[in-house]
């Protein structure tokens, strides 16, 4: 099987290790991975801040970049939610406002074949034990968009539970938002920090070595707070845990 990796702008520029891990994981499972270089960003930050029309070129770019692939896979629930939930809206409005059919066509082309990584593993590859090895205590934060917009449900936890050596501990208040919210963290810094602090208090109470998530934007916010506190816990993307094996352990 051949898939296109949508690395996302955050992973490309700031967390390449997650995209590398996704490539290694998929290749280990027998998938051929392509990285179409014409990709950039799904447009979520702009859209959610109120700049819908500015996202239209990016919607068209996404469709062009991933043309011809049956599966577009990305290690970011938030970006998939952008495609699945908001691209159709952007398309409809572009049509209604007389700016052509391209965004709507891009949406209807991308929506059915864009997958979040855990969806792709569990639903398409039909695998929960990916042969990973990660001998650490881990707690999992389900990011809001994966949880509520995509309905990822137990998929991430099932994947983590099948990892050899991994001890999965339940995160209290797991379903509460971490307070990142894109530009929310900048526009409402006090509330954002208060939400993040509560999330970390819960996370540290589990005694986990790693706070795992499937969205690096949330982890960037939480990891930045952990480092500021010098806390004995690190954030880590799910893909990096799943990519880790006994032969090639997580560095």
């Amino acid at each position: 099987m051949r898939v296109a990796l949508f690395a996302t702008c955050v992973n490309d520029a700031v967390h390449p290790a997650t995209a590398v891990a996704t490539v290694r994981l998929l290749e280990r499972l027998g998938v051929t991975v392509d990285f179409p270089a014409a990709q950039t960003c799904c447009g979520q930050p702009q859209y959610n801040t109120g700049y819908r029309r500015e996202t239209e070129p990016l919607v068209r770019r996404m469709a062009r970049a991933f043309e011809g692939y049956d599966h577009v896979v990305t290690p970011s629930g938030s970006c998939v939610a952008m495609v699945r939930d908001n691209y159709p809206r952007i398309g409809r409005k572009a049509q209604a406002e007389g700016r052509g059919d391209a965004p709507a066509e891009a949406a209807s082309s991308l929506v059915p074949r864009t997958y979040e990584l855990t969806e792709f593993l569990v639903d398409v590859l039909e695998v929960t034990d990916v042969g990973a090895y990660f001998p650490h205590r881990v707690t999992y934060h389900p990011s809001c968009h994966g949880l509520r917009v995509l309905g990822l449900g137990e998929r991430p936890r099932r994947l983590l539970e099948a990892v050899k050596g991994l001890e999965l501990v339940e995160l209290p208040g797991a379903e509460e938002c971490c307070g990142f919210g894109g530009t929310f963290a900048v526009k409402n810094p006090d509330v954002s920090a208060a939400m993040g602090a509560d999330k970390l208090r819960n996370s540290l109470s589990t005694g986990a070595e790693f706070l795992c998530g499937a969205d690096n934007s949330c982890l960037m916010h939480l990891g930045g707070m952990l480092r500021r506190q010098d806390a004995p816990q690190r954030v880590l993307h799910l893909a990096e845990i799943l990519a880790s094996t006994e032969e090639e352990p997580f560095a």
């Binding site: 995209a19 270089a37 801040t49 700049y51 526009k187």
Partner: protein
Amino acid sequence: MSGTFVGMPAFPKAAHDAVRDTTLRANLRHATHTIRDKRAVAVAELADWAALREAGRQIKDRTLHHLDAYLVQLEEAVTAAGGTVHWASDAAEANRIVADLVKATGETEVVKVKSMATQEIGLNEALEAEGIRAYETDLAELIVQLGEDRPSHILVPAIHRNRGEIRDIFASEMGEWGRPAPDGLTDRPAELAEAARLHLREKFLRAKVGVSGANFMVAETGTLVVVESEGNGRMCLTLPETLISVVGIEKVVPTWRDLEVFLQTLPRSSTAERMNPYTSMWTGTTDADGPTAFHLVLLDNGRTDTLADEVGRQALRCIRCSACLNVCPVYERAGGHAYGSVYPGPIGAILTPQLRGTRSELDASLPYASSLCGACYDVCPVAIDIPEVLVHLREKVAERGGPGHRLEKAAVKAAAWVLDHPAALAAGERLASRTRALHPKRLPGPGASQWTESRDLPEMPAEPFRDWWKRNRT
């Protein structure tokens, strides 16, 4: 603290202070988590919750679509039943109508049923200016009124207060308004409730005029409905000689059968009860039973404008259950006052800027008072897609420019260009990686400094992913 919201600071500034108030945060956390957990249990009892939610959504949408026809039908039915209907286009007109009606009775005081509509228009203050005292009779509203405070929650207006604070308010203020609190009042709930009961009873028995809102108005019969937990509302609706109900035009439902859906979803969503303890219904006037005069003031106050907005109009489906407040992580930290409106929380963040417009800095900041986590949409019993409306309103605010948004727009446009030119993006990423040793953990300047106030910036990688890919896979 004054009872009005005019001139309040924008949300981030108001929230800044609230976040640091540890008592407030503890009160809110305890209360909202208790209610949200109970609600989840009450909702899970109904196997057809999803169907009820969808039915509620459809009834409301259909009604809003033909609102003009249902309002005319309602007016005819209320009039036929002996009531009088008044139309008010805004707060000032509604307040004037109510004040004139009260004056015509010769009375100088009214008892009030808890009502969001009368708070929205600032009726109590308007009546006071005319020499008329309005007594709130809902327990929580009483606490707010006696404390010269503002409500901070739709259903539990005094949610920000704990028992000790309530005892102090009762002990020092009740005497100013009527029967004083008993000597030696403690903070035991039973004692506090008894003090309120005695204080209010005196007012119920004396009042000649009652003022209410309504949860629903049934077009086919002209019947108004109030659902409540304490029975105070029923006293106000049945004991006075004159009843004046001020109701938003979106509260109409076509038929009695439609109520069936909402009388299931409203109490379970708001108080986690299978059925609310008191459901009062009144249709015009009835000989020798209840008020002899009934006036219905139908309130627009921005609702028609809201209805004209294709995306935003879904906010008018709201049945004021406040489930969205109780699950909102932002409300939990910022508190209700930060929203600067009688409608706080997620629903307030979309309703207030639509009813009032976004001219003021506060109203323009409300659509951004959310992390878009979507918990509000999940619990909404009429399926209002609050995140969708928030983003829609952000677009309107951003489009108009205004403080902060001009600079932001320029930055977004620049970023959009880079993101549409992958070679430029790759060059920028490479530059960021190569200069990473120079990057500080904290940054100056707007935006960046706020980000790094409480977090370190992520360390930049040695190379962006696209360069790794080029080295390893091509």
